[in-house]
């Protein structure tokens, strides 16, 4: 019982700290102290990650002239709250300012993010075992499947299809990242500063990580440029 009480107290204090830092960030932002606001939102995120804290951090960074980092936080906020219309709009506005593609995502892409990745994985495993059991156990026992078992089979197969599709659509998410630099970053042909330039990655541009070597990451940007970028200029979306 004592351990439970200590855990509850600990969690409560962490939540209180996050809330306090969040409010401090809002106050600093409204006083146009964007650097202080950014520090406060960072603290709030460390204590308790939330889409709102990411969103507000993005605005504070935007005000400080750091559009690349702002784009990362907005993308992260949308990962946490994919159906937030305001976040979508702001990300579109920011990407427009950065000269990036602002075409809306397809409906199935949005649908695939309505449930989080762990949610889809749990659903997939449950549906998999349920379908297997509904298909296998009746035949093993020699009974003919009745209507409830057939319904379970159908539901399991549908859930399996939905979860599998969603995970397939999000298959690039682990390697998706954002260019953080505030100015266009140089892509090199090899993981070295002296290597010839192969292209440019714009601030806030999405990219797929292909490889990593030392302090360089090989990416392919949404614009099609491919090359090695300094690791400090690129951050994976799932790397919170």
């Amino acid at each position: 019982m004592k351990i439970q009480h200590i855990l509850i107290l600990l969690l409560s204090s962490v939540a209180a700290m996050a809330s306090e830092a969040f409010q401090q960030g809002i106050t600093a932002y409204e006083d146009a102290e964007y650097s202080a606001a950014s520090s406060a939102f960072e603290q709030a995120l460390e204590a308790n990650e939330s889409a709102a804290a990411h969103h507000n951090q993005a605005l504070a960074l935007y005000q400080q002239g750091k559009p690349g980092q702002a784009a990362w936080h907005l993308e992260r906020a949308l990962l946490l709250e994919p159906m937030n219309e305001s976040y979508h709009y702001k990300l579109g506005a920011l990407r427009q300012q950065l000269g990036l593609n602002t075409a809306p995502p397809k409906w199935y892409a949005i649908a695939s993010r309505t449930v989080s990745q762990p949610g889809w994985i749990i659903l997939l495993s449950i549906a998999c075992w349920l379908t297997l059991a509904a298909l296998w156990l009746p035949s093993a026992s020699g009974y003919r499947a009745n209507l409830p078992i057939k319904a379970v089979r159908a539901i399991g197969l549908l859930a399996l299809l939905a979860a599998g599709t969603a995970l397939y659509l999000n298959r690039h998410l682990p390697s998706t990242g954002i260019v953080l630099s505030d100015t266009p970053a140089t892509l090199h042909a090899a993981p070295a500063a002296a290597a010839p330039q192969t292209g440019i990655a714009r601030p806030g541009e999405r990219g797929q990580q292909i490889d990593q070597h030392g302090d360089y990451i090989q990416i392919q940007t949404e614009g099609g440029a491919r090359g090695w970028i300094r690791a400090q200029d690129y951050r994976l979306l799932l790397n919170a």
């Binding site: 996050a18 809330s19 809002i26 932002y29 409204e30 709030a44 308790n48 990650e49 939330s50 889409a51 709102a52 804290a53 969103h55 507000n56 605005l59 935007y62 005000q63 990962l79 946490l80 709250e81 219309e85 305001s86 979508h88 709009y89 702001k90 990300l91 579109g92 506005a93 920011l94 990407r95 427009q96 300012q97 990036l100 593609n101 602002t102 075409a103 809306p104 995502p105 989080s116 990745q117 762990p118 994985i121 749990i122 495993s125 075992w129 297997l132 059991a133 296998w136 156990l137 093993a140 026992s141 020699g142 682990p174 330039q197 440019i200 999405r206 949404e222 614009g223 099609g224 799932l238």
Partner: protein
């Protein structure tokens, strides 16, 4: 008494502390020279006071040189001094105006006293005299013949035109250059490249004298029109030979006259100047100036190419323009392309590859990124570039035709085709309750933090998740296995007998093999007989544990039947008689045949 002394000291010190004084001198240095040697007219203004005096830069003097004397290369220098006297500080600043005086005739030249305004006061400059004597017959070459500076520049240039030239320091063979102390240039109407460390040395003959020539390459670009003056100066230290010729009638002393001269030669700090140089800088003609002209002067050629002839909408294409030739590359920014509905383009990446040390010739590459805004058969715009050719004195316009590009409609939403979201059409395509401009939207905070959900794929390595899935899988497998057995139970009553017989057969087989290894005849035949009975049970589906020999042999035929009879006979002989004629190896072979047949 003490008070009286203090007042006396204050009365003496105060005026000198408050009043700054000017001391002005004028002289020729040296005041007496041989014809051909240089001298300097120096005006020194020294200002002193108890606080640091501020100098006023003197740019001109109201004098003109007398006939037979020319002034050139005027410059100023300042020096400061602070003296501590009885605990108080006395500052003095001296501003020197140095003008090179070059006589053309022998004689005595006097600059009379004159006055000019300095810091609001009328300052009197005393007279100064220079005496120029005839050079004696046995005198060596003059100093200006021993060390001098030359720069060969064109008489006329166009504004913005970049030319290369060499600044040459001529040092007579018998002069040893100990070091270069300073370099200065006066070129208000030009930009001049920095002095490079890589100098070239050569030997030249001039007026019958042999010189070691040190050359520094420079580039020069006029930035003002009109007659523009330019001069260069080196401060150097050199060891000069004695002026008196110490040569024997046979030439140099056979006892090492050169060494002797070196030993007795004098080391001097010299300032050497170029002759007064003037360049007429002309403006570029307005007549015939193309619209695409952006300041390139020289002689150029152009190459244009695209990295692809087909692309998807929104996919960037690189248009590369390469300028090759000779001219002012550092002032060329590349051709301009107007914005059109079909393409969006960005400022180019520039890369200059010089073909010479000064960067006057080479190639400059401009990489433009063009993004097609629609699909179809498009054309990258024509490239127009013009330059002014100073040799032909006319503008030259270069052009490259439009490049065809086939653009396919995009199916990938991730390709950047920037659109302009408006307040009525949010970028995401989702409707907003309130219309905001993008700028407004980017300033509005979210005041309601919600608990966030977990994202990512960390659950795949979560032990609880893995354990639950493994348990679920095992449960389903176990259930399926149990159900299969239960189904068979229901369908076949002999199934449990067979299952039990299979297990017992396995145990009996292990037992007779063990007995065989230990040559235990009795145990071998006992377990072997049991194995045969279990095998018969497995085959028939009902228990054969109490079956007699005839019931078992009825299940066999051929060689297996014969082996069974022999084996059972041997087993009975062993069991009841205590011995048997058969070897264990043969008995085991018979047993294996029987079990295989059953």
């Amino acid at each position: 008494m003490r008070l009286l002394s203090l007042i006396t000291v204050i009365l003496i010190a105060l005026p000198s502390a408050l009043l700054a004084e000017f001391q002005v001198t004028a002289r020729f240095d040296p005041p007496r020279i041989a014809m051909g040697d240089p001298s300097q007219y120096i005006v020194a203004i020294t200002e002193s006071g108890s606080s640091q005096p501020q100098i006023e830069q003197i740019k001109t003097l109201p004098i003109s040189p007398p006939a037979g004397l020319t002034f050139s290369n005027g410059r100023t220098s300042t020096s400061q001094q602070a003296n501590y006297i009885n605990g108080s500080v006395q500052y003095s600043v001296t501003q020197n105006l140095l003008i090179q005086a070059s006589p053309t005739e022998i004689g005595r030249y006097t600059i009379p006293a004159y006055a000019f305004d300095y810091k609001g006061e009328r300052v009197q400059i005393p007279a100064a005299t220079l005496e120029v004597l005839e050079r004696s017959a046995n005198a060596g070459p003059s100093r200006s013949e021993q060390v001098f500076l030359r720069a060969e520049l064109p008489d006329s240039l166009y504004i913005g035109q970049t030319v290369a030239f060499d600044l040459k320091l001529y040092v007579a063979e018998d002069v040893r250059l100990d070091g270069l102390n300073s370099f200065d240039r006066s070129a208000d109407g030009f930009t001049i490249s920095e002095r490079k460390d890589d100098i070239s040395e050569s030997v030249e003959m001039k007026n019958g004298h042999r010189y070691v020539v040190r050359s520094w390459p420079f580039t020069l670009t006029p930035i003002r029109t009109g007659q523009q003056e330019i001069s260069f100066q080196f401060g150097l230290t050199a060891r000069l030979p004695n002026q008196e010729k110490s040569r024997t009638p046979l030439g140099r002393s056979p006892f090492g006259g050169g060494l002797f001269e070196d030993f007795f030669g004098r080391t001097e700090r010299l300032n050497v100047y170029t002759d007064s140089l003037s360049i007429n800088v002309q403006p570029l003609p307005e007549k015939g100036k193309p619209k695409s002209f952006s300041g390139a002067i020289g002689d150029f050629a152009i190459e244009v190419g695209a990295d692809s002839e087909q692309a998807n909408q929104g996919e960037p294409i690189m248009l590369t323009v390469v300028l090759k030739g000779r001219g002012n590359f550092d002032r060329i920014n590349g051709p301009d392309f107007s914005e059109g509905p079909d393409w969006r383009h960005y400022d180019p990446e520039r890369k200059f590859e010089p073909a010479d040390a000064l960067g006057l010739s080479g190639s400059k590459r401009f990489d433009y990124v063009f993004i097609p805004q629609r699909s179809g058969q498009l054309e990258l715009p024509a490239t127009q570039f013009s330059y002014f050719d100073p040799q032909e004195k006319e503008y030259v316009e270069l052009s490259a035709p439009p490049l065809p590009v086939k653009v396919a409609a995009t199916t990938n939403s991730s390709v950047p085709t920037p659109q302009t979201p408006t307040p009525d059409m949010p970028a995401s395509g989702l409707k907003l309750s309130k219309s905001l401009t993008p700028e407004e939207a980017l300033l509005t905070l979210d005041y309601r933090p919600q608990p966030s959900r977990a994202v990512g794929y960390a659950i795949l390595s979560n032990p609880l998740f893995i354990g639950l899935n493994a348990a679920t899988g095992l449960l389903i497998l176990g259930s399926a296995g149990a159900l299969v057995r239960w189904k068979r139970h229901r369908a076949d009553p002999s199934y449990p007998v067979r299952i039990a017989a299979r297990q017992s057969l396995k145990e009996a087989r292990n037992a007779y093999l063990h007995a065989r290894q230990h040559n235990d005849f009795e145990a071998f035949f006992q377990h072997g007989t049991q194995a045969i009975r279990h095998a018969a049970t497995l085959r028939t589906g009902h228990s054969m544990q109490s079956a007699d020999c005839a019931q078992i042999t009825a299940l066999l035929d051929g060689q297996a039947l014969e082996d069974c009879r022999k084996f059972l006979a041997a087993a009975n002989a062993r069991r009841f008689g205590g011995h048997s004629q058969i070897q264990l190896a043969d008995a085991q072979q018979q047993l294996e045949n029987i079990l295989t047949a059953l």
